[in-house]
Symmetry: C2
Subunit: 148 residues, 2 copies
């Protein structure tokens, strides 16, 4: 079984489960990381995916995985944080949004849930960014295996 075609690309299968609604309107104005002064935002969950939220509650720590829809995908090395004096590094050693598969990984707190919208933050993703997955942050306690 393979989801990948002969050229190695996924066969058109990644499907957004929601979208970010934020006051951040473009990359230029966005912080590099959520904890660098990013605002809270809305995660509008698409109606077909709502059932997947059962058990998500205000106060939960989640990873939101986004698709950086304005990123460059032909970039393998960058000056970290876009600063030319930083020594060049491979994108896999950085959190640059420019990378072969521009997935964003955002640890957030659920501030509130209103119908099909989650208020989450802090998050540096810009308005209109597609969301492709949500996962609980697992607290790693050695020997503890009781997480969801």
């Amino acid at each position: 079984m393979s989801d990948f075609g002969d050229d190695g690309a996924v066969d058109g299968r990644l499907r957004p489960i929601g979208v970010i609604r934020s006051d951040l309107k473009d990359r230029k104005g966005a912080p590099r990381q959520g904890r660098e002064g990013a605002p809270d935002a809305w995660l509008d969950v698409h109606p077909w995916a709502m059932d997947g939220l059962l058990g998500v509650r205000p106060g939960d720590e989640l990873f939101v995985i986004t698709w950086f829809h304005t990123a460059r995908r032909d970039v393998l090395q960058v000056h970290p944080r876009g600063v030319a004096s930083n020594p060049i590094a491979g994108v896999f050693a950085t959190r640059s949004p420019d990378r072969p598969n521009p997935l964003g990984l955002h640890p957030v707190i659920v501030r509130a849930i209103e119908g099909k919208r989650l208020r989450i933050g802090p998050i540096e993703a810009i308005d209109g960014t597609p969301v492709v997955d949500i996962k609980p942050v697992l607290i790693c306690v050695p020997g503890q295996t009781g997480e969801p």
Copy 2:
């Protein structure tokens, strides 16, 4: 600019940057999480993506993002950990591999680097699992903004 078609699916664009080579050969034998006794494994990076590794070193903590190629994608609710007595939950409140976009998120340590292979672990992904991204784990220290 949009990478998504009218039906909301990504237009065939997710492209594996490598593949997991593991002694774990199927889901049945695999732990639920890396820290539940999973082995180390090899991450074979595809030649075209090698330049993205510049700066990745043994001892680094990374998130490896995989595509669970044997997962079910039509599942929105599960009994956590596959235990029928666990109350049903939305997949976004769990780490179930069965979910609309079966992305796996694996915190690992880089044990060694040999040419185009990274020895990483612990990781519960099975042999042949495609890898779609690698990111550094950022240590979140309030007020510190010096990460890559």
